[in-house]
């Protein structure tokens, strides 16, 4: 290429030995993937060291969406921080609200009415479905199938419609708040929800037929980016990425919070192929497993939602604290099972309304850290497959 700089290498790339097997080698090239690239799902930048189509190494660079959420947390009252949590994992904002609210409640010793807890579970599970739908759609897009993307967004639109009815917002809800939720469910919400579930549940199978069991899709994702359970745990992977590796670990089951011990649901995990409907090519821990765990989780969320609709009690929707909520000088660390993994909040109070420290453990942050380990000796097209299956949201990575 004329005048193209071939070495814009950051130091970390300077002296990694050549590790490619085989004789046929061409010149190595450094390739900047992102921060504006369709497959990096936001402003992630990967520096790829490539040899032809082969990627020898991928180094992620983050921070392009850093909005100082933790610093803001130290300067606003806990209620005021709820809208900031919306903007962490903006595809599953309800769960962020829920996680922070739970941490504050635990710190301040705030009781939550039972109806509010049910509403929270409904919202969290709906949001999990919405988030997984986006993941499903964009993963199809990464693999070059455009159509599932629009199907995913079509179904998500109904969920957003339900959210809009409940709280007036479609993306950044600020609905779940310390002590309960900001509003009671509107009239007809449960009917609409039940109708949506009836409509949506068979659609999951349809999408499995369309994309999950598509031969090309399987060929593109099965056996690509395999993460062993040991690696997954060591790298702190959580959520569908961890379960994709075959580790049956879900906070909703293993360390239940809210009301999750009341519901009957299963924890889907990635398994080796050949059994059931799982294709032969699949290895536990590969991109396909991570993707398929999400598809199955949507079904389980539907199950939980159906139980919620049946059990939802009448009563208060919020236990509003009297006056300003002061946080005692204690410390609490709490994790919830977000759509992308365990979302943790460490909140330290010091007797004032404004917390002394808010630390956010973004699941995508930890999940993304493994890319450097996994994206070695893969093809350029596999980068999209691996990144898409890890399913990061940069708002949560950069906070």
């Amino acid at each position: 290429m004329p005048d193209a700089p071939l070495t814009n290498s950051p130091d970390s790339l300077a002296d990694v030995e050549r590790v490619v097997p085989g004789e046929l080698r061409t010149e190595e090239m450094l390739l900047n993937m992102g921060p504006q690239h369709p497959s990096t799902h936001g402003v992630l930048r990967l520096v790829l060291r490539t040899d032809g189509e082969l990627v020898l190494e991928a180094v992620p660079h983050i921070g392009y969406l850093h909005r100082c959420a933790e610093k803001i947390g130290e300067s606003v009252a806990s209620f005021q921080f709820i809208p900031i949590t919306d903007r962490l994992d903006y595809l599953a904002a309800m769960i962020n609200n829920q996680g922070f609210s739970l941490a504050v409640e635990k710190l301040a010793g705030l009781e939550v009415p039972e109806r509010a807890r049910y509403i929270r579970v409904i919202m969290a599970e709906l949001n999990r479905i919405a988030s997984h739908l986006v993941s499903f759609g964009t993963y199809g897009l990464d693999m070059g199938a455009f159509t599932p993307f629009l199907y995913g967004f079509r179904e998500r639109e109904y969920i957003l419609d339900l959210f809009e009815a409940a709280c007036g917002a479609r993306l950044t809800y600020s609905f779940i708040t310390p002590g309960g939720v900001t509003q009671d469910l509107p009239d007809g919400f449960l009917d609409n929800l039940a109708r949506f579930l009836d409509y949506f549940e068979p659609k999951i199978d349809e999408y499995n037929d369309l994309l999950s069991f598509n031969y090309i899709f399987i060929k593109r994702t099965a056996g690509v980016g395999v993460i062993s359970p040991e690696d997954a745990i060591a790298y702190g992977l959580t959520g569908p990425c961890l379960r994709g590796s075959g580790v049956k670990w879900d906070l909703r089951r293993c360390m239940p919070y809210e009301l999750y011990d009341r519901f009957d649901f299963e924890i889907p995990v990635g398994v080796a192929g050949g059994t059931d409907r799982i294709p032969r090519e699949v290895v536990a821990g590969d991109s396909w497993s991570r993707y398929f765990v999400r598809m199955q989780e949507m079904k389980q969320s539907v199950r939980i939602l159906r139980q919620c609709v049946q059990q939802l009690p009448a009563g208060e929707f919020r236990n509003k604290p009297k006056g300003i909520l002061k946080l005692p000088p204690k410390e609490v660390y709490l994790e919830v099972e977000g759509a992308r993994g365990q979302l943790g909040f460490l909140v330290v109070g010091d007797g004032k309304a404004v917390p002394r420290r808010v630390k956010i453990r973004g699941p995508s942050f930890c999940n993304l850290a493994i890319t450097k380990h996994v994206c070695r000796q893969v093809l350029l097209a596999d980068i999209a497959a691996i990144l898409g299956s890890i399913d990061v949201v940069m708002g949560e990575v950069d906070r």
């Binding site: 693999m143 598509n214 060929k219 097209a381």
Partner: protein
């Protein structure tokens, strides 16, 4: 440089003062031009010979200019009324214009039987360029409509009125106006050339592509080979464009394209050999005329090997037209847009035109070689009387039994298949593309080639075995066609009307 403010952006170009001024100018100029044309016309009646022709030509040009000016004045004065009128009458007017142009272009052919070859060639070139641009506009619009329907959207609905029919024209106008950006550090000459190097072969293959036995630019004895050669030439433009863009992603796209197209030319060539062997010629018109007698005579249904060859040919054309699932060179989720990343405006449009031209050529070639060329599925014997009857009967014969319309229809059908696949399937990875070529396509086509050789040596035409397998393949083909048709009918029967918004209240059951 003066700063461009938001107010500037918001200010309408046709401000209150500008509009009457423009109307005055346009109408004034228009009247002057028209009067001038009239005067010149009057003058011309007095003249003779060359000067008469020149005066007449100038008068016509003046008249057209004046008319345009008057038209512009009307548009500026009554933009909304003209817009509404265009929404109503745009499509009929457009279709009329196309028909008129075709008639005007072909009138000399019909009225001038002993035309010199040069006239025929000029017409063929004009026809090819016209067809390609018209088809590309249509196909882009159609692809967007089909994609929309597949994705439960509507696709373009606004421009021009009826289902956004003028979308491509509007896009084309937009592309013409766009800035022609040259990437910094790139090779400007090669960057400019690349678009033409891609476009010219894609266009020139239409010279040898017969639309029917009579409707062909040049009926070459090596027509098929020429088309295949020109198919392969477009790659050079893509390679040069990708390289000259000074963009690593473009480079990747160009490399992928070269790898893929060169590799798939081999199975493509082997699949081509089957119809060549059956027909014993490279002349496309002869191959086409071989399949005149109803759809059981189509080459694809001749015997199992030709059927397999037809399928491998379809797959190979997908790869050489870089359509999904082989769209790696422009894979938007991996390479952004591959070799086209740095192109904009008209040059980008040239690449698109080339792509759609190649798509149609591939579809038409599939039809000519395997699926009955320009013949309808009806047996030719039924229409034999019409073929030699009076002119209206011949015209009817051309529509019902065999003629360019059938080839265009079939070509569009295969283009539709390509669109359909693109919006349904994910993309293959590069190593899988190569693997599929070398490990699957190549052996299959070679075996088929060998088998076809022995078939032709050992199984005489008309023998029981030949007839039986011909029948079996025909039935299979008919069943597949019936299946597709029934799916289409089912879809039409149970289609759900798309509502404008996706709200829970519109869910089924409410």
């Amino acid at each position: 440089m003066a700063e461009f403010t938001t107010e500037d952006a918001l200010r309408s170009r046709w401000s209150a003062a500008a509009r009457p001024r423009a109307v005055r100018w346009f109408s004034g100029l228009g009247v002057v031009f028209v009067l001038g044309a009239a005067a010149l016309g009057l003058l011309a009646t007095r003249l003779t010979g060359m000067s008469y022709a020149v005066a007449l030509a100038v008068a016509v040009v003046l008249l057209l200019t004046g008319g345009s000016c008057l038209g512009a004045a009307v548009v500026v004065q009554y933009p909304r009324a003209v817009g509404r009128l265009l929404q109503r009458l745009g499509l009929p007017l457009f279709l009329l214009a196309v028909a008129a142009i075709i008639v005007v272009a072909w009138a000399p052919v019909l009225l001038w039987p002993d035309k010199p070859l040069i006239v025929r060639d000029v017409l063929a070139v004009v026809g090819a360029v016209g067809f390609v641009s018209l088809f590309a506009s249509f196909a882009i619009w159609w692809e967007r409509k089909v994609a929309g329907r597949i994705q439960s959207r509507l696709g373009p609905m606004r421009v021009g009125g009826w289902h956004g029919w003028a979308q491509s024209i509007a896009d084309g106008l937009k592309l013409f106006q766009k800035e022609d950006i040259l990437p910094g550090g790139g090779d400007a000459v090669l960057f400019r050339m690349a678009a033409y190097v891609t476009f010219v072969p894609a266009l020139s293959l239409f010279i040898a592509l017969p639309f029917s036995a009579a409707w062909v630019g040049r009926d070459l004895d090596v027509g098929l080979l020429l088309i295949v050669a020109l198919f392969g030439l477009g790659v050079i433009g893509v390679l040069l464009g990708g390289w000259a863009s000074n963009n690593k992603w473009s480079m990747y796209g160009a490399m992928r394209e070269a790898c893929q197209v060169i590799s798939y030319e081999i199975p493509l060539g082997f699949s081509l050999l089957i119809p060549i062997m059956v027909a014993g010629t490279l002349r496309l018109t002869t191959i086409g005329e071989l399949q005149a007698g109803g759809f059981w005579t189509w080459l694809a249904f001749r015997n199992p090997f030709t059927l397999i060859a037809a399928l491998t040919f379809l797959i190979a054309t997908l790869a050489s037209c870089k359509r999904a699932p082989f769209d790696l060179p422009e894979a938007e989720s991996e390479l952004v847009a591959g070799y086209m990343t740095e192109y904009s405006g008209f040059r980008w449009a040239l690449f698109m035109f080339a792509e759609y031209a190649e798509m149609f050529a591939a579809g038409a070639l599939t039809a000519i070689l395997f699926f009955g060329a320009w013949h309808s599925p009806l047996p030719a014997a039924w229409g034999a009387a019409w073929a030699t009857g009076p002119l209206w009967q011949q015209a009817l014969h051309g529509v019902v039994f065999s003629g360019p319309l059938w080839l265009i229809f079939k070509g569009i059908f295969f283009v539709y298949v390509q669109i359909w696949l693109r919006w349904t399937l994910p993309r293959i990875r590069l190593d899988q593309v190569m693997h599929a070529c070398v490990q699957f396509m190549l052996p299959v086509t070679m075996v088929v080639l060998l088998a076809q050789t022995f078939w032709q040596l050992l199984v005489p035409a008309g023998s029981v075995l030949a007839v039986a397998l011909n029948l079996a393949c025909t039935v299979l083909g008919a069943l597949v066609a019936l299946g597709i048709a029934s799916i289409a009918v089912y879809g039409l029967r149970y289609r759900r009307r798309l509502v404008g918004t996706l709200v829970v209240d519109h869910l089924p059951g409410s």
